[in-house]
Structures are given as C-alpha cells and as structure tokens.
Amino acid sequence: MEITRRSLLKLGAILGIGSALPGCAKETVLKPKEEPLPPRGEETFVSTICGMCPAGCGMRVRKIGESAVGLAGSRDHPVNQGGLCPKGAAALQELYHPDRIRGPLLRQGDRGKGAWQPVSWDEALRLLADKIAKAGFQKRNKSFGAITGSPTQDLGRELLRNLAHEVAGGGVSVLGFPIGDPPFDAYGNMHGNQNVFLDITKSRLLVSFSFDWLGAHPSSVEAQRAYAELRRGFNRPRAHIVQIEPRFSVTAAKADEWIAIRPGTEGFLALALARQFIQNGTYDKDFVTDHTHGFEEFKKSLEVFSLEAASRVTGVSEENIRLLAMKFFSLKPAVAIGPRDTPFNQMAVYALNALLGSIGPGRPFLTGSFGENILGETASPDARNDGNDGFEVILADRVNPLFLEPSKWRPVFEKAPFVATVSSHLTETAQFSDLILPCHTPLEAWHLSRHVSMQGSRIINAARGAVGPLYDTRDAGEIYFSLKTALAGQKMEAEAFPAYVKGRFRELGAPKLLEQDNAETWLSEAKTIGQSLVFSTPSGKFEFGPLLKSLRENPPTQTSRSEDFPLSLYLFAPLAFSRGEGAHLPYLLDIACPQLEEMWATWAELHPDTAQAYGISDGETVWIESHQGKIKVKARVLSRATPWVVSVPVGLGHTAYGRWAKGLGANPLEIASMNRSERVRIALL
C-alpha cells in the first residue's frame, strides 16, 4: 500500500489538532471553578498603625468599599518592617467581632449580672461627668481611679492623663503585665528613672532569667526580628542564647542552652554569678568605678551567694553556674535580662549588666530621655494606692484588672461607688461596671503615639483609623476629651476632637500624614536615645543601694517547702495571649501552644515523676489549688517539664469577653499573681 499524500495529510491533521487541544481542554478541566464572593466596591489600601498592643507596628489594610478585608505589615515601618505578629494579623477579627459593644450601656440591676440599658453618648458622658463632679476630688481625700493597661505614650492615654490631672490632680495607674514588662522597678531603683531601652541585637551573649522574650516581649515583632538578627544577622557573629527558666518555653526551644531553675530563685542565681565575676575579676572595672555607687558594700553582701548555696537554692548544678559565668566572660557584649519579677529578682539580674559593662552608648542597654513621659513612672504591681480610702470613681481604660489581678482589684472595685469602663468588648471589668463607654477597635481609632524602637530610634506613629466606625463607638481619646470638656462646663462640638487631633499631629511635626491614605504613618524624631548615660539617682550613678536594701529586708532563703502545697506554680503568657488579651479571637485560640499543639484549652505542664506521684496521666483533667482558690485544667505530662513545677498559661478562663472566650479554659490569675511564684497542690478531678 502506498502512503499517499492525502493519507499523510489526513494523519497530520488529526495529530495536529490532537496536540493543539491540550491547551484548551486543560482549561476546562484544570481551571479551578471557584465561586468568589460577590464584588462589593472599589479596592483601596490604607496605611495605619496596628494598635493591638503597645508596640506600634505599621500596617497596610486592604479595603473593599468601606470594609477591611485584608492586612499586611507596612514594609518600611521601622518597628516591624513588613512583619506582623499573630495578634496584629488577627486585627480583622477584632474589628468584626460579633460580640463587640455597640453603644454606651448603663447597668440595670446588680453589678455583674449582665443586664444593660442602652443610652446615648450624651447621657452617658453627662452621667459620668456628674459623678466625677459630685465626688469633689480636689476637696475630699478620695481618689480618681484612672487605670490603663500599658505605659504607651499615645493620644488616648495623654487625654486620660489630662483628665485625671484636671479632676483630681492625680495620675493614671498603669496595670502593666509583669510577665512581659521590662524590669521597671530595677530601672527605677538603679537608674532613678524607667527610661532604659534594651537593644537585644547588640548582644553576643543573651542570657534570660525566666523572661520568655520570644513570647512575652512587649514588642513581639521586634523580638522575632531580633532573634533572626542574632542568629543570621549580616556581618555579625552569631549570638549565643541561654534561657534560664523553670519551663521549656519557646525561647528555651530556640536557645542554645536551657537551664532549668526553680521558680522565684533567679535573683539568687544572678547574685551567685555576680560573685563569680567579682572573684574572677571578670567584670567591667571601668564602668563600676566611674558610673556606679555602692559597689563595695555590694561586693561584701555577695559572700552568702556561694556556688554551693546557689546550687542548693536554685536547683542548677554548680558546674552549669561556673560554665555560665565563663560564657559571660568570653562572649561580649553580654546581656542579662528578666521580666518584671519581684523587685529583688529584677535588681539582682539587672545588676549583672552593670558588672558586664553592657549599659551605655553603643552598648545593649540604652538610657536617655524620651521627652515627657505622659503616664509617669509605672508603679510596681505591689504598690498599694497612696493611702486613700479607695477610689470614688474608677475609669478603666481598655484594661481588664478583674481578670489580670482579681485578688488585688476586686475588693477595690467592689468598694468604689461608681465604675466606668472604656472597652470595645465586654470584658470582666466591663461586666462589673456601672457604665460602659465603648471605644473604637484599633482599626477604627486615631493613632498618635511615641515609641522607641529596639535599635533606640525614636518614632512618632501617626495615622487615622483604617475604616470608619462600625457601631456607635468613639475613639478612647475622644471620650476623655469630651469628659474634660463636659467637666469644664463647655459644650462639645462635633469637630472638636478631630481638630484637637490634627492640632497634636501638627505640633509633633506630622501634618502631612493626614493628607493621604497611603502616606507613611510614622516619623523619626531627630534624636535617638542612648547617646549618653543618664542616671536620675541622687548619686547621679548606677545605684546598688536599693538592691542591698532589698537583700537586708528580705534575705532570700530557700523557698519554704510547704507540706500542703508542695509544687511551684510557674505562670507564662503564650504569644497568642500576650498581655493577657487575645482569648476572644478564634484564630488566636487556634495557636495557643505551638509547642504542644494545644488549642482552645488551658493546660498544665507536669514532669512524669510529678504526674506519677499523683497518679495523673497525659490529658487528664486536674485541679490545681493554691491558698487562694482552685482551677480545673488539662494535664500534659512532658519529660521536658521541670519536676515539682506546674506551668500554666495565662490568658484563658474568662467569664465574659465574647462567645469564644467565655467559659473556655481556666484563669490561673485567680489563684496566683504574675510577679511572684506561688505554691500549689494538684489532684485528679
């Protein structure tokens, strides 16, 4: 048979068509037939500031019409440089949370019963202004309880401070979050002021004394960035990270060495190390001579802190302490950090930095003034209010003391005749209040705040809210502004607050930030801090005195072993619930513990020996009881837990705060405080 031209052409045509078909056929089968949501308007991008925590990261919000549908970090913002932390990433859930308070609420019935009557803003503000005016703070010995959560230098708190000053000549109490706050008491006592900033990335050796800085640092994004820099920073030696902590936290997991220690004994270990430095002569003699006061006495007081004693008290072996001291010697700059623990622990740890010469220009610890500190010094959590009979009116600004420090604040709140809360959600504190003034969520609010980045540069964040208010809420600053106006007997104009804000923007040198949506939302201030050593102590130097005083007054003996309460409770804050907030957002509940894949539950970490002693197996429900009360949690038995220590996360156990947080988990702050270790016992359910 011949292969004719025609048959060849036919064959070719078939093959040709056949091979051309893949393209269009693939389209129909392999193209995902997604059903996108219906289009709702034009897309815009707005730059704003996150505001979910005090760090002040820049954020870019994607909007369709008036709704925010996506977010990302602002690439050039000096604090976050495009990154976000989990809370920032969940800001949309905060904005669109279904259980937000939608308008001012006045209590009906008994406190805490949850019966509310909606009122208008005028009524609410007038009522509060009346209460404040009638209290007559200037005359009587009563206090105005303005409480806020964190020492952020922002517009809202500035206005709250102005109000408190106007009303009662007083200041604002800052609750803080001891697990994550810097050692303000050490700074205050040893520097004379709290303006100390730590640039972790300047260190070559970073030793943390129970500060889970990757999880609890007040500026989370910067902490993660700092870690990356420490490990893989360009043109710098790789840092060595040591984590001394009762629990194998995330920081311990990422560290080069984890040293398990008994809770509460960090100060003892620090002073034992100090004794090693001084004995070996491996301390910065120049700094000590030129810039410290009270060193000789300090040296004498270290006699007790022998290696043997330290090992006995802390549970860390002598060998490890000696090796750690050697590390401090060989890796410089070296930094010792800790959270806002007991004042003794704070000061003992911080004192190491003085010995290591890590304080000063070009060193990790930067001092300097930050301009006026709006809120004044952050009082110690232990401080009682100044001898007054209590608060006449409490105004809680976006803070939840009844959850974070219930044993301290519940009696105070119960005694106070009138309690008002400014909050966007119905927290425990709001639930207990007489009047709730709902504020904007961060995506709706004005942002004008001052920050110092970890590298020591001063920044002013300035942005308008990304979206308009969803409900009948107001900017927190506007509430205080209106109250002040009302108290002064003036009438509140509608545009008064925006005009005030714009005025402040102009004063701080940020007028053009208001003009465009896409403008940068930050300014650098010309001065960076840390250019000089600043001490505000009477001696004008770094003071060892308060540490010595603390040593004399409360000599740290071995923590008493109680028969009734044989275990130590160690509290920690997962990053998802940093500052004790976040339990109301489902996506944050999903990431409660990446180390254990725990979600939507409060758990307690136990060592197998401890668990066996009580007959507890992994996953069982147990009671943890202190002398203050008991809570029910899920036990997790891990061989990397520390024997006779129970570690419980803070953040869950709300009785209000929205549908997801309410009734979920247990609150260990009901039975213990954050800034000291508690003894507990444990039992199967």
Partner: protein, 266 residues
C-alpha cells in the same frame, strides 16, 4: 470487504500507531506529574528554621487571608480545626537536655504529589506552575487524597463553616468559602498569583517575583519565609534552596516537595 482493502486498512492503522509513538511524548502530554522545568514559573518556598521562632504569625495571617473556618472548643478537642499552615513541633525529650524544633508546615506542593495520583475526579491536580490545586466544586469528599498525603497537609470540611454575619464583611473576596464535605489545603495563595498576573498584564510588563508573595511570607516578622520562582536560578528562593543547610521533610519518599527548609546552626 475484499482481502486487499482489509489489509490496507490494517496497514494504515499500523502506520498511524508507529507515527503516534514515534512523535515525542510531550505532544501527547507527559503525565501531569512532571512539570515543565524549563519554561514558565515554578513556585517554591524556603523556610529558614534558624530564623523562625514559631510565633505563628504566618498561621494567623494565612487563616485571615484564606477565610479559614472559626473553631470551637469541641472541634479543637475533636481535632477538626483546619490550619493550612501549621507549626509542627519536633521533640527530643529529656530534662534538661530537651530539644525542640518548631517547623512551619504548609502544603509541601510536591513535584510528585501522592494526593494527585489518587484523586478519582480531578479535584486536585498540579498546574503548570507547580502549584497543587484544589477544586472545591468538583471534590466528592472521599478523602482519599487526605489519606495519601504523607505530610497530612490536607484538611476536610466536616460541616459547613459558620460565619457570624458581622464577620462576613471582613472576608477576603478573592478566596471562596468552602462548603461542607470538600477537601481543602494551602494553595500558596494562588489568588494572589492570579491578581499579580492580571496586574502585570494590564501594565504590559512581565511578572516580578516581588509581586506575588503568599500571606505567610509577607507577614513573617523574622523574614524566615522566602517565596519565589524556583526556575529563576538567581532569585532568592532558588538560591536559598541550594544552600548546604537545605533539606526537605520526608525526603526519602520521593515526593520532591517545593518547600525547602534550612537547618539551624551555621
């Protein structure tokens, strides 16, 4: 039919078959399991475990970007919460010699995906740019692909995800809400790729690597996630994937995942 014509017919068939098999395999389409390595993009990701701190910002950013289901305590206890990108803890217990790695694990977007092999209805497939896709409207929910994945990177909608009305305004309009009974997984934020391509086409320029970044890479505060075109040999992703610290999960199974990890340490 006469003998001669029948013979002719068979000869023609034989000739056709010879031509058919002599022509290069490519015309008849290599199996979808091998991407065209030389042309077009091949999207991949490099995660530096020496920078990653396990903070889970990427996890939350992914959930927000992709309209992920809201959980509940019961679903958490039943282990039915979906996280397309999860942090995998890898433990070596001991006290205090404990070691733990925290490894962010998205869909590994394998070159030889075991899930694609077993899908009965073309609901999961690998496209020409290497992304393993998922078609919610065709999936019958048999969960064969989920069981075939050695990384357990696929998830199933046990029920219709519920969204309170207030939260519906905040949903990302580019990503469809999954109905009940279908399988879903990380798609390397494929909707962002489509958008980037459209923009590039509108502006008459080629697609730049920086135009297309998934939500996780964008949000990482430590910049541990680097995403890019593995075919662009000088780009960041391809360069890092060649690092001596690079490794893949379950490397010996031969799935050739396009998510590369960089070991900790120098």
């Amino acid at each position: 039919m006469s003998k001669a014509t029948r013979r002719d017919f068979f000869k023609k068939c034989a000739a056709g078959l010879v031509v058919l098999f002599a022509v290069p395999k490519k015309i008849f389409g290599a199996a979808l399991s091998h991407a065209s390595k030389s042309q077009g993009h091949r999207w991949g990701m490099v995660i530096d475990l020496d920078k990653c701190t396990g903070c889970s910002a990427c996890v939350v950013a992914c959930s927000v970007e992709n309209n992920q289901m809201l959980g509940s305590p019961k679903e958490a206890a039943d282990k039915r919460i979906i996280q397309w990108l999860k942090i995998l803890p890898v433990d070596q217990d001991g006290h205090p010699q404990a070691r733990q790695r925290l490894i962010p694990m998205p869909c590994q977007q394998c070159e030889n995906p075991p899930c694609v092999k077993v899908c009965p209805v073309y609901a999961t497939f690998k496209n020409e740019e290497g992304i393993v896709g998922q078609v919610y409207s065709r999936c019958i929910g048999c969960r064969y692909c989920v069981n075939a994945c050695p990384y357990t990177c696929k998830f199933f909608n046990w029920k219709t995800p519920l969204w309170p009305d207030e939260m519906r305004t905040g949903l990302n309009p580019d990503v469809s809400l999954r109905p009940k009974g279908v399988v879903e997984k990380c798609l390397f934020c494929h909707h962002r790729l489509q958008r980037a391509k459209e923009e590039a086409r509108a502006e008459r320029r080629p697609l730049r690597e920086s135009d297309y970044q998934p939500a996780c890479a964008e949000s990482c505060p430590a910049k541990a996630i680097v995403f890019g075109d593995l075919n662009d040999l000088e780009g960041d992703a391809a360069r890092l994937a060649r690092s001596p610290r690079a490794f893949h999960l379950l490397e010996d199974l031969g799935t050739e995942p396009k998510v590369t990890y960089l070991n900790e340490g120098t």
